[in-house]
């Protein structure tokens, strides 16, 4: 086989892959719900990332009396200390979103690894470890979180760890089930048959096929992360930094007089999560539409 043909082969493969990608993308792009979702996510991410530079006031500056109504100086009114809600909304997203995302990715990632490992062990060991794992499902997470935060203090690392920890047990369970389903498939046998190593099988056969389950789990857990972060703040176990979760907590007392101080971050979080869900649903619809052909 000459070189030219080899290149051709490679090119052919790539072209095919590209066309597949575009077709999913096109399908996604044609779906109005997915588009709305994507726009929502992008909007919030833009706010989160470049928001701090757009804030009309320094988020720490006092621009009026506490809980002042919206006015020309403060687009969304002021918060409990008289600071500009709009500026704080713009500036406070990054920490919150980063904390939520890091916690979710870490927790789901760890859970995925544990789930995969448990599923590869012998049935007996696996089931034993699983019932230990279930213990952490049985103890309501918020209780454990309170204890851990009290123990280690409410710094951002601890918060992220606690939230991450709260996901591990569930994800482990979900991923183990998904992995067991994949492990029993013949293509894993085939991979063994051509002499792929365990690590290779995990990375190349199991992982890509557990990934869809993992992505769904990630979406659910992401919402849970944000909610837990906000709830911990509410119970007085949050960090003292400036972020959306704390905004909700600080200003909740003034909701009757200055609802924006609470609702602005709540809506921002809601829009982000709703957008993420729409996109995720859209992608799975597009993929399944492809599969159904």
């Amino acid at each position: 086989m000459n070189t030219a043909e080899e290149i051709d082969v490679a090119a052919g493969t790539t072209a095919r892959h590209d066309s597949r990608r575009t077709s999913v993308l096109r399908r996604v792009a044609r779906d109005p719900r997915t588009l709305i979702g994507a726009l929502a996510v992008i909007l919030i991410l833009v706010v989160v990332i470049i928001g701090p530079h757009l804030a009309p006031h320094d988020p720490g500056d006092f621009v009026g009396a506490p809980f002042a109504a919206a006015g020309h100086d403060a687009l969304l009114g002021t918060d409990i200390l008289g600071r500009d809600v709009w500026s704080r909304l713009l500036a406070g997203g990054l920490t919150f979103v980063v904390q939520g995302v890091v916690a979710t990715v870490a927790g789901v990632g760890l859970g995925a690894v544990l789930g995969a490992v448990i599923s590869l062990l012998s049935r007996r060991t696996g089931e034993f470890l699983l019932s230990i794992n279930d213990t952490f499902i049985v103890i309501p997470q918020i209780l454990v979180s309170l204890l851990i935060i009290t123990r280690f203090g409410a710094n951002p690392w601890v918060l992220v760890s606690v939230v991450a920890f709260s996901h591990i047990a569930h994800t482990t369970r979900v991923v183990r089930a998904a992995t067991l389903r994949v492990v029993s498939q013949d293509y894993v046998r085939a991979a063994e048959g051509i002499g792929m190593s365990r690590a290779q099988i995990v990375a190349k056969e199991l992982f890509p096929n557990v990934l869809p389950v993992l992505l769904v789990e990630l979406g659910i857990r992401m919402a849970a992360s944000f909610v837990l972060l906000a709830s911990l703040n509410f119970l007085g176990f949050g960090s003292s930094g400036m972020e959306w979760g704390r905004m909700i907590e600080e200003n909740k007392g003034g909701i009757a007089v200055q609802p924006w101080a609470v609702m602005a971050p709540v809506l921002a979080i809601a829009i982000l999560l709703i957008g993420m869900n729409l996109v995720r649903d859209g992608i799975s619809r597009a993929v399944s539409a492809r599969s159904a052909r």
């Binding site: 506490p66 008289g82 203090g153 007392g253 009757a256 007089v257």
Partner: protein, 537 residues
């Protein structure tokens, strides 16, 4: 009066009365008795009930249940006053028992169960004369023997006040007649009448049983659900007159919004110890509610530990004090419900030095001070504080921000009080405390002078101590005031506390409630004097 009290999770920590400790001993002297008796003896009948605000009593119709939402009940609230160490415990004790003396509506020491508390020829012998119309809720008269047994019980059982009242010699309490007894102190102190305002030395009968508490106070215990609510019924035979209401409920709210919601929803009649940020919510709820407030000597103060860097350098301390924008703290954090402090304590004390120039924010000057002293800015410091009140975190947050403008990089670590008072206590370079209801001498004795026991700043100044020691032995008011002014000048110039704000006590109540008055040396709504309150219809 007691050292530290937080509204919420604060200060179950220290159940002590004002402290006569060894430190105190040396510094004792004759009298003050003149002053003390002067402000006491006169209108003995009045005690708690004197000077209710003008609007009060006339319109009040007796009867009804007064439901008061407070933020501070906890499961550690004790029914035994001597074991009491919590704000909730004090609130309960205030209803069930009487103290011999108390702080009145102007923040001065007044008589309650005592008709007079008079020093002998020096401050080592005190004669306490009881009012003769006081009875226990069981109907028997309160006698000098009861007072004596209250103290012997405290010392026999080594209850907490035995530590703070160590200058009292339980064996030297002599019953003169049914309503008179004398205390011969181990160490003379003019602070004796003030010390007796502490709820922990509430007078209890000789056969006192904490499980079925009997007192002489305005109310009798109904049901107690620790940490949730306590109910009382009126003591119709109370010596100062029966309370206006038939019964009283103290209901705990962990969350300030829930407290206000309950008021607006008509589930409580009064919200006591309101978070300043909730005032606008109450006001927005309509005309059916009244918000009342009075200035108190209570303060959340920052403590700079002079044994730790960088506060070992007075320049740094002065710079930090210059960095604080006090008015901003009052306006933004306290929604205006507070007064500006000047780094010295208790503005309600007649000896308070009001001649000192009000310190105001000057971050540029602060920076210059630091730079001139050779510091490279910013100076990094950690601030450790417990959430002593619902707004103390916010106070710290703004404080940190203000300090940043003056070249301080303060990282704020909020820990709960159990952690705060844990092993690391005393080593925090910068921390926050709640002080209230102490006279200037008391404050000095506890937190400033002569290696005071609760001096988290570790600040020590020989000149100050000398002045203090002299002041507490000085009879002449003018001279003593002058000495105190000098003490406060030293505190002002080189002290280690940042006393930036004094907190208002804020209450909101239904417009059907009347009888509210001010008690600058107590934090609870109406100074927890619920017997003077009632409904107008």
């Amino acid at each position: 009066m007691e050292g530290i009290r937080g509204n919420q999770q604060a200060s179950r920590k220290r159940g002590f009365g004002p402290g006569g400790r060894t430190a105190f001993a040396a510094a004792t002297v004759a009298v003050l008795a003149v002053v003390l008796t002067a402000c006491s003896g006169s209108d003995s009948g009045s005690g708690a009930t004197t000077s209710p605000s003008a609007s009060a009593s006339a319109a009040i119709v007796d009867g009804g249940t007064l439901r008061v939402g407070i933020t501070s009940l906890s499961t550690s609230d004790a029914l035994d006053p001597a074991e009491s160490s919590t704000a909730g415990g004090y609130a309960i004790a205030g209803q069930l028992y009487d103290t011999l003396t108390e702080y009145d509506t102007e923040g001065k020491v007044a008589m309650r169960l005592a008709e007079s508390v008079e020093a002998g020829k020096d401050a080592s012998v005190w004669t306490v004369k009881l009012r003769d119309d006081a009875t226990w809720s069981t109907g028997e008269a309160v006698t000098a023997d009861d007072v004596k047994s209250t103290f012997t019980r405290i010392f026999d059982q080594k209850l907490p006040p035995s530590e703070s009242l160590s200058y009292i010699d339980p064996d030297q309490i002599a019953v003169v007649d049914a309503t008179t007894l004398t205390f011969t102190l181990k160490e003379p102190t003019v602070l004796f009448p003030e010390a007796l305002t502490s709820p922990t030395v509430s007078i209890v009968p000789q056969d006192f049983d904490p499980a079925a508490p009997v007192g002489s106070g305005p109310f009798v215990l109904g049901t107690n659900t620790p940490g949730t609510s306590v109910t009382f019924t009126a003591n119709k035979k109370y010596w100062a007159g029966s309370p206006h209401v038939d019964s009283l409920e103290l209901i705990s709210f962990a969350d300030a919004s829930a407290q206000v919601n309950a008021l607006i929803g008509g589930q409580i009649d009064m919200a006591s110890g309101l978070d300043p940020s909730m005032v606008s919510t109450v006001k927005a709820a309509g005309s059916g509610f009244v918000v009342d407030n009075y200035a108190t000597s209570g303060t959340l103060t920052w403590q700079m530990n002079v044994e730790q860097k960088p506060f070992d350098d007075p320049v740094v301390r002065q710079a930090l004090r210059l960095a604080v924008d006090r008015q901003q703290l009052v306006d933004q954090v306290l929604s205006g419900y507070g007064t500006v402090g000047n780094d010295i304590f208790n503005p309600f004390d007649p000896m308070y030095n009001s001649t000192l120039a009000q310190r105001s924010a000057d971050p540029a000057a602060a920076k210059k001070l630091l730079e001139d002293a050779g510091y490279t800015l910013p100076i990094a410091v950690e601030l450790t504080a417990a959430p002593l009140t619902s707004f103390s975190d916010r106070l710290n947050e703004v404080f940190v921000q203000q300090a940043a403008a003056a070249g301080f990089d303060i990282s704020f670590k909020s820990v709960d009080s159990a952690t705060y008072y844990g092993d690391a206590y005393g080593t925090y370079p910068l921390s926050m405390s709640y002080w209230g209801f102490l006279g200037i001498f008391d404050q000095a004795a506890l937190t400033i002078a002569n290696d005071a026991p609760y001096n988290a700043t570790k600040w020590h100044d020989d000149a100050y101590d000398k002045l203090y020691n002299e002041a507490v032995t000085t009879v002449d008011t003018t001279r003593r005031t002058d000495l105190v002014h000098q003490m406060q000048q030293i505190e002002y110039d080189s002290g280690a506390y940042v006393v930036a704000v004094f907190l208002d006590s804020i209450s909101a109540y239904s417009d059907r409630v009347a009888g509210y008055s001010t008690y600058p040396n107590t934090d609870g709504g109406n100074g927890y004097h619920f017997n003077t309150m009632g409904f107008t219809s």
